[in-house]
Symmetry: C2
Subunit: 343 residues, 2 copies
């Protein structure tokens, strides 16, 4: 492990230096670097020794220039970072994607583009070919970044169906509507009839679809839709708490709350406790996500599990396929009702 380069910052060794050191040609070194096919054991060994001796690392710019690939993937976040960091789901998703890509030896770059200015910079960076594809984690409609990247022909996979974008963009999503239906039916099965709902933002697919599932089941069961039982949050804990306050004021007779995220559900629990309503005695509370917040809550949340491990794995699979030339695809994954103490 003799580094000939310690101390002064000399220019790093090139493939040529390695070739000379090993007594072979550039081509042979390149072949060793890319899988080692059609290389004799002798040459293979000599090249590896030369690489160790010179401390060579391939210049990825040169490689990318000719291959057109960068062998890295971007994890793009177009929302303010607070949102991201507070939400345990994002965490799980990020880790899942990192792991799935690790199997392909591809590094994941996290890019935050919360401000308009940042969005411009990052978009330019991406369209300039610095990553081969983008995993997009932002669900707000009318996201100009997604639009732009799509038009620039950058392979893109969104988490959750992007609203307002054409059908040519890939996405992976949980079956939000079905999940919501399961939860509402579960609450009904407990004898609840005045079921309130705290939705997500209505410009996100999760916000829209989960509310739709709620309304569908109510309609099917002949229960009248009462808009006093419906408020919207922004997936944050605080907004759940505030939402529950409003619900208690508008519809004090509620006997259940279906909350569109576990984090918001935590806030709802706080508000209910303060109001002296027992859970699950007086009010049943159902969450959504099955994130770590569901287990941290007291009582633990009955919730709809989103298969985040599968979601991230699928996102990576679809993205790599698209980079490989396949057409965009949409993947919908089933959810599951998890019964715990809150309902």
């Amino acid at each position: 492990m003799t580094m000939s380069n310690t101390g002064g910052r000399r220019k790093p060794p090139t493939i040529h230096d390695v070739a000379r050191e090993a007594g072979v040609s550039r081509g042979t070194v390149s072949r060793v670097l890319n899988g080692g096919h059609y290389v004799s054991p002798t040459a293979h060994e000599a090249v590896n020794a030369a690489i160790r001796k010179t401390g060579y690392v391939v210049n990825r710019h040169a490689r990318s220039l000719i291959t057109g690939r960068s062998d890295s993937i971007g994890f793009l976040l177009t929302e303010p970072q607070e949102r991201f960091f507070e939400d345990p789901n994002f965490n799980v998703l990020l880790r899942g994607c990192t792991q799935a890509l690790a199997a392909h030896d591809i590094p994941l770059l996290l890019m935050l583009a919360g401000t308009e200015d940042e969005r411009r910079r990052i978009t330019r960076y991406i369209t300039a070919g610095h990553v081969d594809g983008v995993l997009l984690v932002s669900s707000h409609s009318g996201d100009p970044v997604a639009q732009e990247l799509c038009e620039a022909g950058v392979p893109l996979v969104a988490c959750g169906k992007p609203i307002g974008l054409g059908s040519k963009v890939s996405y992976v999503a949980a079956a939000d509507r079905d999940g919501a239906r399961d939860m509402v039916r579960h609450l009904l099965s407990l004898g609840r009839r005045r079921i309130a709902v705290v939705t997500g933002p209505l410009d996100t697919p999760g916000g829209v679809e989960r509310l739709a599932g709620y309304r569908e089941v109510l309609a099917e069961e002949g229960i009248e839709y009462d808009e006093r039982l419906v408020v919207s949050g922004d997936y944050s804990r605080a907004s759940g708490e505030a939402g529950a306050e409003r619900l208690l004021a508008q519809a004090p007779d509620l006997d259940a709350v279906f909350v569109a995220s576990d984090l918001m559900a935590q806030g709802v629990l706080t508000a209910l406790e303060r109001a002296g309503r027992g859970v699950p005695g007086d009010v049943s509370v159902g969450g959504f996500d099955d994130s770590s917040a569901a287990l941290a809550a007291r009582p633990q949340l009955t919730t709809i599990r989103q298969p985040y491990d599968r979601i991230s794995a699928e996102m990576v699979r679809v993205l790599l396929a698209q980079i490989g030339g396949e057409d965009p695809a949409a993947v919908i994954l089933p959810t599951e009702l998890i019964k715990r103490g809150s309902a």
Copy 2:
């Protein structure tokens, strides 16, 4: 804004296409792209028009190949991501760095390298020249990544003085020891004499230095050092709570706690409340950081403010200077005692 490239994914336009379209040479286009000096107004206009018409974006791989720069900076995190996401300080730091770099139009790439495997991948990625420099946010000693990057000659600036690394690595840090001294003196000025301490991990500079400041002041005041008054945490809220439990068991007569981070201090408050000790009546609690946790706590925390905005600005400044060829530098920034309700 006519994109000649919509639909089929043709190969993107090169600088050559732009030159032909504008009726000038490659050189002139390149000059326009890089500041526009020594270019006639006529040519300048023609090139800009051609760029718009062709939808040209510079191929950064080609540029990087010859300039040796990538015009991007990495924000490297070598700890498990949970730690990072829970701590509000990191958030502030990240945003500060992003903003400081935005002034130079440089995108920031967040790289998570929590596992051994990821560390290898990311190190290779960095040493291959994909970023011009690295902002390192990990303070644990013996971090092999920092060592490796340093040896590879990658410009690097750490947040907090890296333990166990040579003096040739740049860092920006708050005056931890002075801050701790200020806090302990403040607690003494309130008449407290049995001052306990919850330190950070003792393989981090913050952990070591803040404890050192505590011991110094005690020694100066002729107060005996009692190791029952000292426990260590890992900067997490939970570890603060657990630490306080241990302290209460070992030294029930404590009348103040100096906690090495606000997040841990929140945990300490929880434990004290459960034990029926009033804050600040029975026990004074001092934090460290002045993070958002200090304001969120009840009572609000008296704490030592770390100037995170200046820290991030300095990190970026030092890193860019180093990339520009300057020698590594160490910057120590002063802290400030912020008095609130807890002490």
